[in-house]
């Protein structure tokens, strides 16, 4: 049994570990240097693709949109009308650029996890979701203080309740508004992308591990690879959903900071 495991480990690394997410440098002289890995390359590519796409789509805007202009306008219009305005109200229009950037950036970054040869999303490293969550966190706190002044603390922390239970409620409000919010934004996105990549690794490598250990297991290996294809489509749904959820929650926090009275 032990001997067999060692032989297997020589063929394909199974089970996949967290180490599989830390990729080597892609420049041959890089060694253990982590400043230019596939992850970094994909981040730069995402930024470049978004900038080039939106500039190119809007280079020569027509009254009757061309196809690429239609695509860019549809994406922006969706975020503006169906997220920003629906959740924040009419003044939500001024947050539409930020929300649209957030949505498209997260979507493209997530999409790498199912694109052939890339096949890992930078979002499966928690550093990237943390930075995005911190930006949204600073934004809604800043907006709250600008709208309500120092009264924002009362607005955010003091619920409508009799005074004698406030000492119990205020710490909970503080915890859930200022600590859980950025934490859950970051962890939700990270965990979904991490788990998606891990699932694909398990089913792909598991197929090889089974077929290597016993030829009779070959049909199950094929089943495992078929599952990989099915899970890739599931991942596509998760990718779009997580980009959407991150944007909607950011919009809802902004709305909470701008609301007139505590509710």
């Amino acid at each position: 049994m032990t001997g067999q495991t060692i032989v297997l480990a020589a063929d394909v690394p199974f089970p996949p570990t967290v180490e599989d997410f830390f990729l080597p440098s892609i420049v041959p002289w890089g060694g253990d240097n982590v400043w230019l890995t596939k992850i970094t390359l994909l981040v730069w590519l995402s930024v470049a693709i978004l900038i080039v796409f939106f500039l190119w789509a809007y280079r020569n805007p027509q009254m009757v949109p061309t196809r690429r202009q239609w695509l860019a306008e549809s994406i922006y219009g969706f975020v503006r009308n169906n997220i920003a305005v629906d959740m924040i109200g009419r003044e939500g229009v001024r947050f539409a650029p930020y929300l649209a950037t957030l949505f498209t950036f997260i979507f493209v970054m997530n999409l790498w996890s199912i694109i052939p040869f890339a096949q890992i999303s930078p979002m499966s490293h928690i550093a990237f979701p943390i930075v995005l969550a911190l930006i949204s966190w600073v934004l809604f706190i800043y907006l709250g203080f600008r709208k309500h002044g120092i009264g924002y603390l009362k607005h955010a922390l003091v619920p409508p309740a009799p005074w004698f239970i406030l000492p119990i409620l205020v710490p909970i409000e503080f915890f859930s508004n200022f600590i859980v919010r950025p934490f859950s934004l970051a962890v939700r996105l990270f965990a979904n992308m991490f788990a998606g990549h891990m699932l694909l690794l398990v089913f792909t490598l598991g197929g090889f591990a089974m077929i290597n250990s016993n030829v009779l297991l070959a049909p199950i290996s094929v089943l495992s690879w078929a599952m990989t294809i099915a899970l890739t489509f599931l991942d596509l749904a998760v990718i779009a959903l997580q980009a959407y959820v991150f944007t909607v929650l950011t919009a809802s926090y902004i709305q909470g900071s701008l609301a007139e009275e505590a509710h």
């Binding site: 009308n81 305005v85 009419r90 229009v93 239970i165 119990i168 409000e173 959407y244 919009a251």
Partner: protein, 77 residues
């Protein structure tokens, strides 16, 4: 584009408004947050008094109740 106002009337090709997932997350975070905050404070009290978990238990129950109260008040049951 940011300055342009959104269409006044709903159009047929508008997507559905976003589901109110924010409200659900708020409810969950109040409930779990309440139990964590007051359970944690109870845990500290346990350490301070040398008791074995009784304050943490009381804290978690009180925190859970306070979380439910907050959900009712903030979200309107």
């Amino acid at each position: 584009m940011a300055g342009q106002q959104p269409p006044q009337n709903p159009r047929k090709d508008d997507a559905a408004p976003p589901p109110d997932s924010g409200t659900g997350m708020v409810a969950i975070s109040y409930l779990i947050g309440g139990m964590l905050v007051w359970g944690g404070i109870g845990w500290l009290v346990d350490h301070w008094l040398g008791t074995k978990g009784i304050a943490m238990g009381i804290g978690a129950v009180v925190g859970g109740a306070a979380g439910v109260f907050l959900i009712v008040r903030r979200l309107g049951a």
